[in-house]
């Protein structure tokens, strides 16, 4: 198409057409992102207008503080932080289902999903909006634990690279967990079922990871291979590999896509 247009005599018009087309495309993309933003912001607000987000943050900070004290504080300030981050990831495993269980299940059980999906929005926009909304809560959670390593910056001597990469890893681990939680929430209209389903899947991921580095047989080898979390653990060593990042985003994309498919399937039931 583009090649043929080049041979058209009035080249100026062609370029302006192309420009206009891309501008229309950009405007469309902008509007689409705006819709996702509107939904995400609404989700974020919903969390912070109920006691839920505050309670979870309080519990998270308390446990994180406790672990920090046990793992890091009692030892020399130069020890690696990875156990601290590993423990934080485990807490996420419990917190994420509590955050995500309501995302779609609640809308389905109260019927508000009908108003949401009969608004001029695509199912993708709904799923992405919900995801980024809860991802925002998670981001707040992660940022609030930042003072622990900052204390280490001040008083200990730790590799800053390790801290940053560990934080990135924690942030993305949460992203994967949340996408799984959102997917679980798309499957049912019961928040309890959705929460337990998400927790079950996360527990399995965790077990696979454990088997991966404790068993030395073929099964252990297999587990090492399929383990989602091991990619993230690699990151805590201070090296950020784009392969790991791509992998991580793909896993999130996979579960979000699945959630969108489930949401769409209502049409044909």
């Amino acid at each position: 198409m583009a090649v043929r247009q080049q041979s058209v005599p009035v080249a100026e018009r062609t370029t302006s057409q192309v420009q206009r087309a891309s501008r229309a495309g950009l405007a469309g993309l902008g509007a689409s992102l705006q819709t996702i933003g509107i939904i995400a912001l609404k989700e974020l607000r919903t969390y912070f207008t109920s006691w839920m987000a505050y309670a979870l943050i309080a519990v998270y900070l308390f446990i994180a503080g406790f672990i920090y004290w046990v793992v890091v504080g009692r030892m020399s300030h130069s020890l690696p932080l990875s156990p601290f981050f590993a423990e934080l990831a485990i807490i996420l495993m419990f917190i994420v289902p509590l955050l995500t269980m309501r995302l779609l299940a609640e809308e389905k059980s109260t019927g508000t999903v009908e108003l949401l999906l009969t608004s001029p929005v695509t199912d993708w926009q709904v799923v992405l909006g919900k995801f980024f909304g809860v991802f925002g809560v998670h981001t707040v959670l992660v940022l609030l634990t930042a003072h622990f390593p900052i204390m280490l910056f001040k008083w200990g001597n730790v590799d800053k690279g390790i801290i940053w990469s560990s934080y990135l890893s924690l942030w993305l681990t949460g992203g994967i967990f949340l996408s799984i939680g959102l997917w679980a929430s798309s499957l049912t209209d019961s928040q309890v079922v959705s929460g337990f389903l998400a927790f079950g899947v996360l527990l399995m991921l965790w077990l696979v990871n454990i088997f991966g580095f404790t068993m030395q047989n073929a099964f252990g080898e297999f587990c090492r291979h399929v383990s989602v979390l091991s990619h993230l653990e690699d990151m805590t060593s201070g090296v950020i590999d784009t392969k790991d990042l791509v992998y991580c985003v793909s896993v999130i994309g996979f579960f979000l896509f699945w959630a969108k498919q489930v949401l769409e399937s209502r049409k044909w039931k």
Binding site: I38, I39, T46, T49, S50, T112, T118, P120, V121, R266
Partner: protein
């Protein structure tokens, strides 16, 4: 404005609607009348692109519900059955969110929401949490969100269900007002509601369209006589025979201890009947004019004969006790 062509929807084995076709012209207030399970909600969910039909198609404002689903949804304001709203949001915040989601530009969004709140009389509780509102108030918020993006078409699924009589009256008035600027499709299982609000009626039963008409024609078709229900404290055994002999009475039936007196249409015999019962000293306990229940209408429309089984359901009970 809305063209529906041979819609069929099957849930597995269950056929919810079958070959439903109708048209709605601009400015119409169309009543979708049918008992529970008739397929009203299913049809509306298909029109609003929430679900896809098994076969058939529909267009709203010329746009196809499959191909231009987003355009169709821009043209529609929808109030689902049971008025599902986010209970933890305040009314104004919720309406602002709906307006944003449906593409009302940021500039002027606040004004638009204020305007809509005034129109639906929700401005008195604009900052209250939706979960704390009464049913009638919530219903009005439901209507407010349906019109917030000023859509040409409104689809309202049982908009007066489970309201008390006063709230029902208010809601109907509001819908009639909205009918001046919008094309409306509303579903109901109350016959009287249709004649109060709508200018066209579709009767649907068992997933099939049984009749399409104006409310006047429909009730003329249905109502060939009036029924008055009487209860006495001391009715003699031949009370029915005695009542039957009165002038204007066509027939008398006994049902659950009450007498159903059928009279010719427009011959209001309530005064005569009361006087008669008092004279005889039967101890008149109750006297009221019965409205036809929808089930009766169906029996008549679908079976075609005039004989009517008067169910002991009155308009008042239908309005109050559906929940």
């Amino acid at each position: 404005m809305v063209e529906v062509e041979q819609l069929t929807k099957k849930y597995g084995e269950v056929t919810a609607i079958k070959d439903v076709s109708f048209r709605v012209e601009r400015g119409d207030i169309l009543g979708f009348l049918g008992p529970n399970g008739a397929g009203k909600t299913t049809t509306m969910r298909i029109l609003t692109c929430f679900m896809a039909p098994t076969s058939g198609t529909a267009r709203v404002g010329g746009y196809d519900i499959f191909k231009d689903s987003l355009e169709v949804r821009r043209l529609i304001g929808y109030l689902p059955e049971g008025v599902p709203l986010y209970r933890d949001m305040a009314v104004r915040k919720y309406l602002l969110y709906c307006a944003a989601l449906r593409g009302v530009p940021r500039r002027g969004r606040e004004d638009r929401v204020d305007e809509v709140m005034a129109k639906t009389h929700v401005d008195e509780f604009a900052d209250k949490i939706i979960g704390k509102l009464s049913k009638g108030q919530r219903q009005r918020v439901g209507l407010a969100q349906a019109i917030v993006h000023d859509p040409p078409v409104l689809i309202l699924d049982e908009p007066t269900a489970s309201l008390d009589p006063a709230q029902t009256r208010e809601a109907r008035e509001l819908i009639r007002t909205l009918g001046k600027d919008h094309t409306i499709i509303l579903s109901t299982h109350i016959l009287a509601e249709v004649s109060m609000v709508c200018n066209r009626v579709i009767i649907i039963d068992g997933g099939e369209v049984k009749a399409v008409d104006t409310p006047d024609n429909l009730s003329r078709q249905i109502r060939q006589s009036d029924v008055i229900q009487l209860r006495f404290k001391r009715a003699p055994s031949d009370a029915a025979q005695q009542l039957r002999k009165l002038k204007g009475v066509q027939r008398v039936q006994q049902q659950d201890g009450a007498f159903m007196v059928e009279t010719s249409l427009d011959a209001d015999l309530r005064e005569e009947l009361a006087a008669f019962a008092v004279n005889k000293g039967w101890g008149l306990l109750e006297l009221r004019r019965m409205e036809l229940s929808l089930e009766d209408a169906f029996i008549e429309i679908t079976s075609g004969h005039v004989e009517r089984i008067v169910a002991a359901s009155s308009e008042a009970r239908q309005e109050g006790g559906t929940d």
